[in-house]
């Protein structure tokens, strides 16, 4: 379905992957409302290989969103380098355009790329069924549930055709049941449409269930506390002891090690 992009399959044995995203020694600051300069990130080095899902976890305000904006080229770092294939951002809020139907929102990137409206809609419509959105093509964003809106926003990001997807807490605003459903769905969607993904989340379990690697950031200024491989077969079970062990490792890196603290 997704032609025009040569993407490597997600199984790590199938290729010797090159880097899609390299963040090397990046420092970044921003100004708060009073104009004071605050360090968001310091000495952050991360990378994601082609077709990999890199999860970035960290406490609130550790510069995760800044990191994604750097990767997407919306900001430049104060120091360090970022090498990255073209990246599309799925922001924390879905930011669907209220005046467009779900279908037109999903197809927005294609319209921006000057594709004819009919073609753009046809391509988006093809994916609607796969994402469980059939029948809602003409619905406007206010008529959709939170989970559906996130799926439309994800589709919009996917249809940008960019090899790297930056997902900023895509399920953070959803209730626990919907979130679990959406995690399963994201995993399946990426198996069908493989991309390099940088997933920012504050949910450690979400990170280890979905990711190939998990980078743990400290509180502000964010620096990398741990970089964990998740070399487990998919689909993963949340009760797999190896997964639980990794989750525990990530929690320890966050300073939340005690088993009862979560």
């Amino acid at each position: 379905m997704f032609t025009g992009l040569e993407l490597s399959p997600r199984s790590p044995e199938a290729n010797r992957p090159g880097r899609s995203v390299s963040v090397i020694g990046v420092r970044s600051s921003y100004r708060d409302r009073s104009g004071a300069s605050l360090q968001a990130l310091t000495g952050v080095s991360l990378h994601a290989n082609h077709g990999e899902l890199l999860a970035v976890v960290g406490p609130s305000g550790c510069g995760k969103t800044t990191l994604l904006e750097l990767i997407c080229g919306l900001q430049s770092p104060d120091a360090g380098t970022i090498e990255c294939a073209p990246a599309a951002l799925m922001p924390q809020r879905d930011l669907l355009l209220p005046w467009l139907s779900a279908l037109d929102n999903a197809a927005l990137a294609l319209r921006i790329a000057h594709r004819p409206r009919a073609e753009a809609r046809a391509r988006a419509a093809g994916l609607f069924a796969e994402l469980g959105l059939e029948g809602f093509e003409q619905a406007h964003p206010h008529e959709l549930s939170g989970g559906m809106r996130q799926r439309v926003a994800f589709l919009r990001t996917l249809l940008s055709g960019k090899p790297v997807l930056c997902l900023d807490e895509p399920f953070g605003a959803l209730d626990a049941i919907t979130r679990t459903e959406m995690q399963g769905w994201l995993g399946r969607a990426l198996e069908r449409e493989p991309r390099t993904v940088v997933l920012v989340t504050h949910d450690v379990e979400e990170a280890v269930v979905l990711a190939d690697r998990v980078a743990v950031l400290s509180a502000r200024p964010g620096r990398v506390r741990a970089d964990l491989e998740v070399d487990l077969p998919r689909p993963r079970s949340r009760t797999d002891p190896e997964l639980i062990a990794l989750r525990e490792q990530a929690l320890i890196a966050l300073g939340l090690g005690a088993p009862c603290s979560a």
Binding site: A87, A109, H140, S160
Partner: protein, 244 residues
Amino acid sequence: MLLVIGLLGAWEVYVDSSSTSSSILPAPHSIAEALWGNAGLLGHNLAITAEEVGLGILLALALGFVLAVLIHVSPLLRRAFYPLAVGSQAVPIAVIAPLLVLSWGFGLLPKLVVIVLICFFPVLVTTVDGLAGVDADQLKLLRTLDASRWQSFRFAELPAALPAAISGARIAVTVGVIGAYIAESQTASIGAYAGLGREINSDIYALQTPRAYAAAVVLFAFAIVCFYTLALAERRLAPWANRP
């Protein structure tokens, strides 16, 4: 509705029980009679005023919208136009209306100028706010999708500004009716048909007070109809607006 009936009833009772002459304060029933008896005349004059106000509002919408977009996209044009636009609202319309009539005659043009001058400003202000109110994150997102400046405008800012502009026009339509009245007051009567404003003035001079009130009632109803027509237009054109 009950409020209107109550007020009219009180008015009727007051006029009937006091010895006020109907040429000073006519009772509702005599206004109703004047309304009925002069339906043709009032209808013709309404058509004239409605044309002025309708055209004037459309022109004011267009002018206000275009100016708002210019102000929005260019800080230079903002500095150039905004103070002028604000200043234009301080010009006493009652003073310049006769001057406009002097230079452009008794036709439609000077009336349109007065109405547009009054009405473009609310449209301008609400549209500028509507354009500026677009979520900064939204524009950021469009940039990551490689949208050009024009595409950001077309997909995000323009649709956001549309209901704002119509809201401005809803504010404008009520003052626009006053503008029409002022402009018409300055024109000499050409035959009997010169708009409701002219009608009100000549009736007052002729002590045809019930008819003047009847004309005012028509103007009143016209303003309400315009207001709700624009509200309807807003719901049609921008069904996403005013949703939680």
